[in-house]
């Protein structure tokens, strides 16, 4: 797709009248978000106060292990949490100044797709196996833009070409199982960008893919983001992928952001023991004779998050204060925040 076409698409969108206008490029603000899951065994506190913001053209990586709350954050923003069992007792998610959580359901539905959209990890289970892929992409145009079958299919073909699916015209009628994993993920991306959203959330978009295909998909995502100036939230556990594409990073642990920084700063000099531990525990392709410093212990059970700092049972720096007081996210250096009582010691090695 050429640049001119993109601009014309932008204009077309304004013509259809998006009621959302980012102020100073600020797209999304998440403030003090809490999410709980009420289950038969008790209340699992998946997110316990998360704040971040996202600007136009910016890539924010949310890094965390399973159970850290990174995917739940994404689902809360998209509004696709199953409620119940999920409950959002507290917090705001503002898109261009408007709180998505208090918005009427119908209005919120209209943001999903044209304004904020999402690429999921597992493309095979996210696509409907009984409809052709072209039909599923075209659905976006039929439902949100009221287009007819043939026009919407035509747009679907264009999108498939844009995400570099070979022989898109012929394959528009093919079913998901007829595509490889990488191609399916491209189809998911085509659906996600169909309505030219301002925010794209990619939840582990390459985890299920082979490494050579992963490189292709990440390159495509980056290219699309640059072309459309989308705000991209990349949710992942892979420190390598983050280092390659992110501008800012938020590291999550037990439902809280424990460190937030620019990508270069964070890798050079982490300011939270958990981040430091993660960086020391991954084998690196470009090093030999490396010793892996594993983080001892296990991630906490979300039903019983340790008192004080959630990381204290696994932390080398832990003192009595860490077992009693929960540290909040504090500025430790320009542009760097860490939720650790000993952030400065960690930062200075």
């Amino acid at each position: 797709m050429t640049t001119t076409e993109t601009t014309s698409r932008r204009r077309a969108k304004t013509a259809t009248g998006s009621e959302y206008h980012p102020q100073d490029g600020l797209l999304l603000e998440v403030e003090d978000l809490h999410v709980e899951f009420h289950t038969a065994d008790g209340i699992a506190k998946a997110i316990n106060g998360v704040d971040f913001s996202l600007n136009q053209g910016e890539t924010l990586a949310i890094l965390g292990e399973s159970g850290s709350g990174k995917s739940v954050t994404a689902q809360a923003i998209m509004g696709i949490l199953d409620m119940p069992p999920a409950v959002i007792p507290k917090g705001q998610i503002r898109y261009c100044g408007q709180d998505l959580l208090t918005m009427p359901a119908e209005q919120r539905r209209k943001t999903r797709g044209p304004e904020i959209s999402m690429v999921f990890q597992d493309a095979l289970s996210s696509l409907n196996p009984v409809f052709p892929v072209g039909w599923q992409i075209a659905e976006m145009f039929r439902i949100h833009r009221g287009m007819n079958r043939s026009d919407s299919l035509e747009r679907a073909v264009k999108l498939m070409q844009r995400v570099q699916i070979p022989a898109a015209k012929e394959r528009v009628k093919a079913y998901p199982h007829q595509f490889s994993g990488g191609m399916r993920q491209r189809i998911m991306i085509a659906m996600a960008i169909a309505l030219d959203p301002a925010v794209l959330i990619a939840d582990e978009p390459t985890t299920a893919l082979d490494v050579t295909v992963q490189a292709q998909i990440m390159a495509l995502l980056q290219e699309l983001q640059e072309e459309r100036q989308m705000g991209l939230i990349l949710i992942t556990h892979d420190l390598g992928v983050v280092a390659d594409v992110a501008d800012k990073i938020a590291v999550m642990y037990a439902g809280r952001i424990v460190e937030r920084a620019d990508v270069y700063d964070l890798y050079r000099q982490p300011a939270h023991p958990y981040t430091k531990g993660l960086l020391e525990s991954i084998p690196r392709l470009d090093q030999k004779g490396q010793q892996l410093a594993a983080i001892g212990g296990l991630p906490p059970n979300l039903m019983h998050i340790p008192q004080g700092c959630a990381f204290n049972p696994r932390c080398k720096f832990a003192q009595d204060v860490c077992r009693e007081d929960r540290p909040t996210l504090q500025l430790v250096a320009p542009g760097r925040e860490s939720a650790c009582h000993f952030a400065e010691e960690v930062l200075n090695g």
């Binding site: 292709q216 420190l239 390598g240 993660l278 525990s281 470009d286 030999k288 004779g289």
Partner: protein, 349 residues
């Protein structure tokens, strides 16, 4: 040089594809198609490749969980596939396996004691019946689990702990060779290092030889002495860790290495990236000649017709095995030797 404990020669495994009304064989999935290598005593041989390259089938063949279509494996001077009955059972003691998924490879209805102790039921002469409980507890202790948890069930353990149970079961009979099929890929980053360190510790203490099958090139580099790169059922390149990572001569290895994201944002623009086109072809209908020619940027007519042999080819410093007509060394990643830097690292196993 240490002597070989296991020698595979020209291993082939074709799975028939049945089709039509009469369920006739209409083709073959060529999962493993002529693989030869040696495993030396006490070493770790890493096998890397993308999904569908046959690395897991190779592992199953070495365990004789599958009968090969042709080829042979000589283990400690004995032709493995010629053994029957009691002799085979005796041989199995010496080759054990750890599976990828700790969630499905442990029977949920058995206690940890039963799971780890089951090898003793099959080979009752290893440990007398009276001493079994003690033996199991010793094993649990050895892999870093609490011996008192012997009566617990798999679901009461986390992923990393379950993988330790799988490892305990694998080493119960004091095998000489342990085949590890993606033992850490299902684990979280912080836990992965614990298991990798444990495997290294066990190798030192028990003198095991490992065949470490994985798709993660960083982990494989970390743990392996020698590495084999597989593509579509064939070995593309095989050599010492330094040969493969420092002086790869096969274009596939080069592309694979360049696609791995390195967790260091400062390398973002310096790193050369070879983005391969397309996906891995189907092993049911592999390309003629060199199997990589459809995605290779160096491919010539010769590559479409002549199958390149895995032979010693110059890599700039010496020679190592590579299966490319146009093998040429190319430095993809700059390796930093950190073996003497990390004395202060406290390893938790």
């Amino acid at each position: 040089m240490a002597e070989a404990i296991l020698t595979a020669t020209d291993l082939v495994k074709h799975y028939p594809i049945k089709g039509g009304v009469l369920r006739r064989t209409v083709g073959h999935v060529k999962a493993v198609d002529g693989v030869s290598f040696e495993l030396l005593k006490g070493e770790t041989l890493g096998i890397v490749g993308e999904s569908g390259c046959g690395k897991s089938t190779l592992g199953r063949l070495l365990m004789r969980l599958e009968e090969p279509t042709s080829g042979s494996v000589v283990f400690d001077g004995v032709d493995m596939y010629a053994q029957r009955g009691r002799a085979m059972r005796k041989l199995r003691r010496d080759i054990q396996i750890v599976f990828q998924d700790p969630y499905t490879s442990l029977n949920p209805r058995k206690t940890v004691g039963d799971i780890v102790g089951e090898p003793f039921d099959i080979h009752p002469d290893v440990v007398p019946k009276k001493g079994r409980r003690k033996a199991v507890q010793d094993l649990l202790d050895l892999v870093g689990l609490n011996p008192e948890h012997i009566n617990r069930y798999p679901h009461q353990f986390s992923g990393g702990q379950r993988q330790r149970i799988g490892i305990a079961r694998g080493i119960a009979l004091n095998p000489k060779v342990l085949i590890c099929d993606e033992p850490v890929s299902a684990l979280d980053v912080s836990v992965q290092a614990q298991v990798v360190n444990l495997m290294e510790k066990l190798q030192d203490e028990l003198g095991l030889s490992y065949i470490f099958i994985a798709h993660d090139l960083s982990v494989v580099r970390h743990i392996s002495d020698r590495v084999g790169v597989m593509y579509l059922g064939k070995m593309a390149e095989l050599g010492e860790e330094d040969d493969i990572y420092g002086r790869p001569t096969h274009p596939y290895t080069q592309a694979l290495l360049s696609a791995v994201p390195v967790p260091d944002p400062t390398l973002r623009d310096k790193k050369e990236q070879i983005v391969l086109k397309g996906d891995v072809p189907s092993p049911a209908n592999p390309p003629s000649g060199c199997r990589f020619h459809t995605r290779c940027w160096k491919a010539q007519d010769k590559c479409k017709t002549d199958i390149p042999l895995l032979e010693m080819r110059p890599d700039g410093v010496a020679t190592h095995l590579s299966a490319c007509h146009f093998a040429q060394p190319r430095e993809i990643i700059e390796t930093v030797d950190v073996s003497d830097q990390q004395d202060e690292v406290g390893n938790t196993v």
